[in-house]
Assembly symmetry: C6
Homo-oligomer: 255 residues x 6
Amino acid sequence: MTDYQVQSNEVGIFQAAIDNHLPLLIKGPTGCGKTKFVEHMAEKLKRPLYTIACHDDLSASDLVGRHLIGKDGTFWQDGPLTKAVREGGVCYIDEIVEARKDTTVVLHPLSDHRRILPLEKNGEIIEAHKDFVLVVSYNPGYQNLLKGLKPSTKQRFVTLEFDYPKEELEISIVCQQTAIDIKTASQLVGLAREIRNLKDSDINESVSTRLIIYTALMIKNGLSAQDACNHCLILPLTDEQETIEALKRLVNNYF
Amino acid sequence: MTDYQVQSNEVGIFQAAIDNHLPLLIKGPTGCGKTKFVEHMAEKLKRPLYTIACHDDLSASDLVGRHLIGKDGTFWQDGPLTKAVREGGVCYIDEIVEARKDTTVVLHPLSDHRRILPLEKNGEIIEAHKDFVLVVSYNPGYQNLLKGLKPSTKQRFVTLEFDYPKEELEISIVCQQTAIDIKTASQLVGLAREIRNLKDSDINESVSTRLIIYTALMIKNGLSAQDACNHCLILPLTDEQETIEALKRLVNNYF
Amino acid sequence: MTDYQVQSNEVGIFQAAIDNHLPLLIKGPTGCGKTKFVEHMAEKLKRPLYTIACHDDLSASDLVGRHLIGKDGTFWQDGPLTKAVREGGVCYIDEIVEARKDTTVVLHPLSDHRRILPLEKNGEIIEAHKDFVLVVSYNPGYQNLLKGLKPSTKQRFVTLEFDYPKEELEISIVCQQTAIDIKTASQLVGLAREIRNLKDSDINESVSTRLIIYTALMIKNGLSAQDACNHCLILPLTDEQETIEALKRLVNNYF
Amino acid sequence: MTDYQVQSNEVGIFQAAIDNHLPLLIKGPTGCGKTKFVEHMAEKLKRPLYTIACHDDLSASDLVGRHLIGKDGTFWQDGPLTKAVREGGVCYIDEIVEARKDTTVVLHPLSDHRRILPLEKNGEIIEAHKDFVLVVSYNPGYQNLLKGLKPSTKQRFVTLEFDYPKEELEISIVCQQTAIDIKTASQLVGLAREIRNLKDSDINESVSTRLIIYTALMIKNGLSAQDACNHCLILPLTDEQETIEALKRLVNNYF
Amino acid sequence: MTDYQVQSNEVGIFQAAIDNHLPLLIKGPTGCGKTKFVEHMAEKLKRPLYTIACHDDLSASDLVGRHLIGKDGTFWQDGPLTKAVREGGVCYIDEIVEARKDTTVVLHPLSDHRRILPLEKNGEIIEAHKDFVLVVSYNPGYQNLLKGLKPSTKQRFVTLEFDYPKEELEISIVCQQTAIDIKTASQLVGLAREIRNLKDSDINESVSTRLIIYTALMIKNGLSAQDACNHCLILPLTDEQETIEALKRLVNNYF
Amino acid sequence: MTDYQVQSNEVGIFQAAIDNHLPLLIKGPTGCGKTKFVEHMAEKLKRPLYTIACHDDLSASDLVGRHLIGKDGTFWQDGPLTKAVREGGVCYIDEIVEARKDTTVVLHPLSDHRRILPLEKNGEIIEAHKDFVLVVSYNPGYQNLLKGLKPSTKQRFVTLEFDYPKEELEISIVCQQTAIDIKTASQLVGLAREIRNLKDSDINESVSTRLIIYTALMIKNGLSAQDACNHCLILPLTDEQETIEALKRLVNNYF
């Protein structure tokens, strides 16, 4: 099993949604455990997981499949979404707002009562396997006018909201994943939480649990806490010298 | 038969339009039953239904067909529109304003007295089968300067306007589709209707019947009304913490 | 013969233009009979008609032809324009301003004294058949800065201007095409003409003859005049509730 | 021989330029005879003429050539420019500013002392045949910020400036090409010249000689002068009703 | 071994990061030794190095691989990233912010705990070899709104910050790489450092160590210090005559 | 040998740069002899010259090479840059800022100590032949925000700055290349220099030596100085009637 630690009622909601064949949308900041949660549920459900990281140039074809040219002319090759639909797997589409619009519309007939995937390019219409689960995520922090989710898309998903774990939980996650002593873990989490509360800084997204884990790993590896924090917590956050200096002073209050 | 519940004179208008071989345009907000209605009519008419969800990158070729490369060179493959035109099926083009302009123009010769589909790419001109029906839909809520329907397109369609069902009807739809008790259904519909009337919120589209059904299903599944509303009615609507809190308070007035 | 009804001197001008091998440009609003007129003339001249509806993505290749890949490699396939040029047909390019610029320039050597069509892509230069007629249309209502016709294109065409038919003529057209009683036809045309005169409405193009015909057909089919007007005259024109209400009141003055 | 009538010193300049293997640029408004002049010179020189009308989507490949797929894989096919370069023909590139930038740069090594055409796509470098002549034209009236000719392009061409012919010459051209009586021809030319002097109208380019010829042909064909002027001189110039009325009044002063 | 000279704790951080299978991000101005450092570490680790210079049109396929058409139809060809992932090499992606967004997202599953590379185009999922190291670099000087690194990308990398070497070190680098006398090297470095401190000039990036080395090489080659500085230090920095003159005066203070 | 006439220390700098395997950048206005200089040096060095004129659509593939489809599937074809790199030729990339960004980045590994050309598309990495020389040019006059050279590119090149030749030199160039009498040559150069000093005109680039040569050739051919200047010096510079008149008056002061 993955080492996922439950944060709230997310497991129950997820279970209830798939019992009703409803698709899920997970909102949350970067590095707060969205991916790990989906991996955890897929394992729990014993279903294959297909993860797709979206980007500006991800098109419907990358999800659904495309024609390739073989020795006997073109043949159709399923994309990851199509595979999940046929086999009854979990398809996790990460940061969906980054993808091109056509990708989201491809999901419509899959995400309502029809549960079908029309392969327009080769004229097939696939009924989703009963075990097929569709999960998409996005980061409200990025939301912009150009690239929000259309209401007609959002209103098809049972929605979960994730955030960074609570203090105790985050400490135990750091300990468990890095085998670092609880004292250092607590200092690092405390530091991270203080940085997260720096409102009027130029940091446009805050310290993720992932970065705390990086830092702990580097300390375990023999680096000084200052160096580890500098290279794993501070420099990944900002390029502004003033901010860097301010954060270094903050580190010194902890170590 | 699909479990569609008639809302007004839509069935008669639809029938009269196809008796005269006139194409139909259905306006209405997301999740108010446009798709279900078309599925219902196709079943009633015993004609195959081809549904196409439009998007930024949907081109005429996706509707009409394209050349593929086979072992003997290129061959032509009909798209869903072409199939419907040949077989006399119902072609339903959902959210047509999302598609690229060329798609709408392809519909012109099909939607006037000519009833033909010219396949420019392979030089064929198809006379539509007598049973062919063309239905397009769009959501006036999205209309924008860049992507309105051209008058020369709009003025080719008999037009139906859909809205969310009336209170009693919506309650009975929720009961019928979720087997939830009438009391809870009434509370959910009441709540949804109150949210729909929130004028000056940042919600750019309102609670669909679909979301009410989701919520009811989750309650049936054992979730608390609060949780179900939060994950199925509120979070899918907005990312703004203030709005979320306001909507939660609203929920508490009902449950 | 098509049931075209002559409006003015258009037939004579058309004839004089083709006697001199001059191309024609037809200006006019949507649904006023441009297409029917060209069909009528093609029939009268007993020449094949090729109609092309233009759109944002229509390129020169869609008119002229393209290379396809066959079992013996690529072969050239004529487009509709090329066919008309070879056979001496009528090529009608509808709403030419919608097409991409390259399409209009392809027409230049065909529309001046040279009467040739250079197929740049495969190096052939075709002399137009003596019976070849080039007709293009556009709707001045759409004209915009981005997509006007270049003067160097416009100044190659004998130009006809179409408008909605005069009252009596429009009434007789409606009667003839729908077999509705003259009284209702007159009411509908009167109503349409009153709507056309609504200057400061948000309607960016007005009621076409086509919509009047739709309405008459629906009434013949048993719909009430109110319903028919609502679904065929009003809703296709606008999405604004105020305008819709205003137009409904107008309808009530007539029926 | 074409029926070209010399306007000024253009023939001498053209001859001197090609004697020195210098390329030519012809500036001038639409329909003033640029194309006819180049046809005339090509005939005079007994060299094949390749005319290319430029547009937004004309790319270097359309001039130079491209790889096509044949039964034995790809083969190279010369474009019109390449043919002229090999055979020693006249290549006339009309409205070059309309073409994509890459087309103009392809002309650089051809238009300076090197006289070579590098076919980057297939690695060949062609020395221009001694008789090869490069002529490009553009219409300063269109010049815009986005699409001017780069100085590094302009400064490679001996430049000719064309304008509408002088009154007597234009009259004789009209008579010669339409066999109309001199009186009518004079009236038409006088009318055209008066329109050309309408400064503050919304006409963004003025009456070309071509349109005068159209009008004369239509009158010869039996149309009234009013009708002919309306359909061949006025409607091709503008869509504005006010301007149209003003021009009609002007016509009445002449006929 | 490459002639890299250690500047600070970069080697230790690099080692600690790869001991924990963490990816690295190197920030720093142009020509300060980022590339040399990565070459040095790859040699030290005895692992193959794959360097990719990013640009506007670098797409995920250029990193990951693509289908090519062979005599038996399409076959897959690994890109440099895929090769490094399979073989356990070092993949250095230089100036990653210059690349298209999809390239950065391809790195996500490789740069977190999963260490996998999904080849969406051919459906394979590759587990990274234990020795695989991912290093990316970017130049904060260029950072712009359009093309910053997404937080969700940045927060996956242990980050190193490079700058120009300290004075003594830079002098010794110049001597070692050009075999120039220490006196000239010191003058050149002193000059470069003074230019780097010119705040309010129009120079948007400053003299790199690389340019100092160029200058020294040219002097060794017999050029006067003035000429060498002019052609290797000044003209590569700016096109502004005023700035050029100012910098020449500065040079005269040193030579 | 080409008839290049040395202007300053450009030959020595060029030689010193290639002795140290350093790439060169030549700045200068249009038609001042950049191309001739590079041809001259290539001849002097007895190395093949590959010249590439850049434009908006020139991509890395046009420089490096591409896969073509042959009877046995795809094969790789070297581009001009790759040929020069393999054979040890001179690759001259003219007006590099006009090219797409990816082209400049392709040059990075070739223009620093690595001297390699990675062919990402087919996975080969080529070590540059010892005689390979890279020369790029651009025209600071065009520099714009969108299309400047990146500092990380500029700072890789030894830079030469060209300008129009000094008066005496320019006169002798004109005489030598046109065999015109020294008096006329002096008048033409004097005229050109006076035009170059017209600051506040609308001429966005000034008379090149090339245009003076054109003019001299036309005079030799029997044209009057007025005509020659008009067609070769004035009309290529501007479309503004006022400017044209002013320049004609200027010409009359000389002839």
